[in-house]
Every structure is written in C-alpha cells, then in structure tokens.
C-alpha cells in the first residue's frame, strides 16, 4: 500500500513537471505578453509578495469566500432539514432551488452590482452565496434520503430521545455528505468570489486580476492563478482531506 501511494505521488509529480517543461518550451517562442515563462511568473509572485499585495488581496478574497460559503452552508442545511421534514415545502421550494441553480452566475453578478453596488463586500458575498447554496442543499438533502430508517427504529426501540437520534444516527449519516458539500461548495465558492471581484469589486484577488489584465501584465495574471491553485489545493487536501478521513473513519479503520 505504502509503495503504491509513493508511486502515485511520483507519477503526479512527473505530470506537473512535464507541464512545466512544456510551458517553458512554449514560453521561449512567444513574447511574455502572450505567454510569460515559469521563471517570469515566479518573479511576479515574489514581487507581489514583497509589495504586500499578495497577502492583502488573498486575505480579502479568503474572508469573502468563507463568509458567503459559511452562510450558504448553514442555509443549505437548514433548508434541507425543513424540506426533509415537511413535504409541502419540498414541492414548493425544490423547483425554486433548481431555478436558482440554472441562472448563470453572470446574471447574478450583474444583479448584485445593481443591487449592492461595486466595491462592497456584499456584492461578492452575495454571489458566493447564490452559487454555493444549491450545491450544499443538494448534497445535504440527498444525505437525508440515505439515513437508514431501520437504525432510527432501533434507536427508538431502545428509547433514545430525539436528541440522541439526531446526534448518534442522523449526524454521523450526514457527515460524509456535509464534507462533500464543503468540498464541492468551496471550490465553487473560490471561483465565484474571484469572478465577482473581477467584475464588481475594487479589492481582492479578482480585482488584482482585472488590474493585471488592464495593465497588460500577463505574468501577474499567471502569478495570481498560481496562488489560487495553491490555496485550493491546500484546502482540498489539507483541511477537507482530514475532515473526510475523520468522517469515514469507521469504513477504513483497520
């Protein structure tokens, strides 16, 4: 097992190196305005770091992403719980949630700018919320369907209180779905935060991207992209990876 993990990591690393090599080769043929080389991108990263803009903008985007996603996560759970408990709500709300999901993010960001204005955190947080709420809701709602009624019956026979049933049966059943909602939802959240900042904000990574674009600083566009990739990787494999292992420990435990 150990070997195969190392083998997999080595193959993944080889793949990344191959792309870097290809990138370097292509960059030699084109001017930096079209395709900056990996080295130029790294230089841009260092410059952003030294100017302090890297942290300042990343932190702003990070806060907005978490705020929008946090709200969507809580609302998604609450609405899923309500719809699970009351079927008339299900018939009423489910089509609406599908509609929210179908509307393209660009429409939402236009509306957000009209409603909340540019340069406001609200605009970005709103878009993150609108994009990620259906993702969380759908994951959690399907989790409710997967709760084993026979286990609930068992708990009731042994006189478990509703609180005990929620803590010992419902929550552990839902946990993998909550983690998966967080995983998929956060990926969407980052992308929509950057997108919202690009169009409707005067700070954050998305705004920095739009500035780099206007000033024809292609190497900075690449540098910011590298930062986004690193942050998403760290989240997916660090925080969420640990949460996933914790949530399904009983399956893999040996």
């Amino acid at each position: 097992m150990r070997n195969s993990i190392f083998t997999k990591a080595a193959i993944s690393a080889a793949g990344i190196l191959a792309v870097l090599a290809l990138w370097q080769a292509l960059a030699a043929k084109y001017p930096p305005l079209i395709l900056p080389s990996p080295v130029e991108t790294l230089e841009a990263l260092v410059e952003l770091w030294q100017s302090g803009r890297l942290w300042a903008n990343s932190l702003i985007t990070f806060q907005r992403t978490l705020a929008g996603f946090g709200l969507a996560f809580l609302a998604g759970i609450a609405v899923a719980l309500t719809l699970h408990a009351f079927s008339f709500c299900r018939w009423m709300l489910q089509p609406l949630i599908t509609i929210v999901q179908i509307i393209p993010p660009v429409v939402w960001i236009i509306l957000a700018v009209i409603w909340f204005g540019v340069a406001k955190d609200t605009t970005v947080i709103f878009l993150v919320f609108v994009v990620t709420f259906p993702v969380v809701f759908i994951n959690v709602f399907s989790g409710f369907g997967g709760i084993d009624a026979k286990l609930v019956e068992m708990a009731e026979v042994y006189r478990c209180s509703p609180a005990q049933v929620i803590i010992h049966v419902y929550l552990p059943s839902l946990l993998p779905h909550l983690v998966s909602a967080a995983s998929v939802g956060l990926a969407f959240a980052w992308k929509s935060a950057v997108f919202a900042e690009f169009i409707g904000s005067s700070s954050g990574v998305g705004f920095a991207l739009s500035m780099a674009y206007s000033n024809l600083e292609t190497e900075k566009v690449f540098a910011w992209t590298v930062i986004l990739i690193v942050v998403m990787f760290a989240f997916e494999y660090g925080v969420l990876g640990a949460a996933k292992r914790r949530a399904t420990r009983w399956v893999h435990h040996e």
Binding site: K150, L151, E153, E156, V157, Y158, C160, H168, P172, H253
Partner: protein
C-alpha cells in the same frame, strides 16, 4: 407458578393490514396472545405470515388498525433484529453503551457489558467497528446489545438464522442462562422447530396470512431433558413441521 396475575403483555384481537397494489394486504386478523412474566414463547408459522409485523407492533414501531395492546409503557423492551441493526460509525462497545445509558447507571452498564462481551468472545473486538466484524460476530453483538440493557421483555426475530451450528448452540445457551438468572420474558420468532422446542415454554403456531393462532402447545418436559429421544419433544417437533414451518 401463579402466572395468571403476571402477564407482561397481552394482545387482544389485533388487526393489521398494509397498503398494497390493488387494495390492502391483511396481515393479522384478530390475533390474541398473552405473555407471562419469565416465560419464553416461540412463534412459528409460514414465511411472511406476519410474525415480524407482530414483533414490530409490540416494540411500538407499528400501530394496530384495530384491537388492543396491553403493555406497560415502562416495560423495558429489547429487540434482536433479524438483520443486525448496528451503528456502523460506533465501535462495538459504543454501540452497546449508547442503548445502555437509557436504562442503567454507567458503572453497572460497564461491568455488565464487559461480562457479556467476554462470554461471547467479543471482548477482543470492543474497539472494532461493525464493518470489521464477521457476520456471526455482528449477530452476537446484536444479541449482546439486547441483553445488555437488562430487558424485561426480549423480542427476537430469527436471531440465530445466519450463524453456524456451534455458535447457535452457544448463543442459545447464553440466552437461557441470562433468562434464568434475570427472569425476563422472551417472544421468539423462529423458523426452526428445533429452536422452538429447545427454548420455549409455549409454542404458538400461526396460520398463513392473515395470521391467527392455529395451535398452542405447552412444553412440559424440563429444558435439560429436551432431545428428540424424548417422546413429547419428538411429537411437538413433528407437529410444528406439519404446520409447514420448517422452510
């Protein structure tokens, strides 16, 4: 034995039907039975005749359409389900401890479950999760959990169906030992005439659905003497088999 005053459970003229394609499926049609304190009653009958439905009604999981169920709400009931219903995210010990906490003090609970785990050979697995156990071990855990709450009424739905013969005898022995020392009542659904005559004080033979009680047999031979060499036991086994039970 002055049993008349000590019924722990009485069902009077129970009717139950379920919605089914093209109307309602009648499962129980005016079934009555009484279970006394410290008594073991085996329910036998054709497959799908409503025995599990009956247990679920007694466990409070189903409502009757008509009829009366007399059972103290305080009656401490444990249920050995046909397929073990274990919480996969809790360890062996935590599965037991969870249900015990509603009935026993934590010291009493810990001592008692340690003893039961020891007796069933599960002590070494107390920190394992159910998915790591074999089918037989899960069945044992299901039984241990039921006994661990010190029940007054133990419902068992073909509890030893999927365990091998040696283990089955071991578990039957454990149930009898616990029942002898704690004097709880048992309602046992079984397909096995052997199990019925080995364990029960009374055997109730149910009809095909809608189920009513066709015949009630009281076994007078004391348990230690129950073997097929015994005339009464042999006759009763045959009678159960004739009712189309052993399938």
């Amino acid at each position: 034995m002055n049993r008349e005053q000590q019924a722990v459970l009485e069902l009077k003229q129970i009717h139950k039907s379920f919605a089914a394609a093209g109307g309602r499926l009648k499962v129980l049609a005016g079934l009555s039975l009484r279970l006394y304190h410290g008594e073991i009653v085996a329910l036998v009958g054709p497959s799908g005749c409503g025995k599990t439905t009956l247990l679920n009604i007694i466990a409070g999981q189903l409502r009757v359409d008509r009829g009366e169920l007399d059972k103290s709400p305080e009656l401490r009931t444990a249920y050995v389900f046909q397929e073990p219903r274990l919480l996969p995210w809790k360890t062996v010990e935590a599965n037991i401890a969870l249900v015990q906490q509603n009935f026993l003090t934590s010291d009493e609970a810990r001592d008692f479950r340690s003893r039961l785990l020891e007796e069933t050979g599960l002590a070494a697995y107390k920190d394992a999760y159910p998915l790591q156990l074999s089918g037989g071990q899960r069945q044992r855990l299901e039984l241990v959990r039921a006994l661990a709450v010190r029940p007054q009424l133990l419902l068992m739905d073909e509890p030893f169906q999927s365990v091998d013969l040696a283990l089955r005898h071991q578990l039957q022995k454990l149930v009898l030992e616990e029942q002898t020392s704690e004097q709880f009542s048992i309602l046992l659904v079984t397909h096995s005439p052997e199990e019925a005559v080995l364990l029960a004080d009374r055997v109730l033979i149910l009809s095909d659905k809608p189920a009513v009680i066709l015949r009630e047999i009281t076994i007078s031979t004391p348990r230690p003497n129950r073997s097929y060499k015994n005339e009464e036991i042999a006759l009763i086994s045959e009678e159960i088999l004739r009712a189309g039970v052993g399938s």
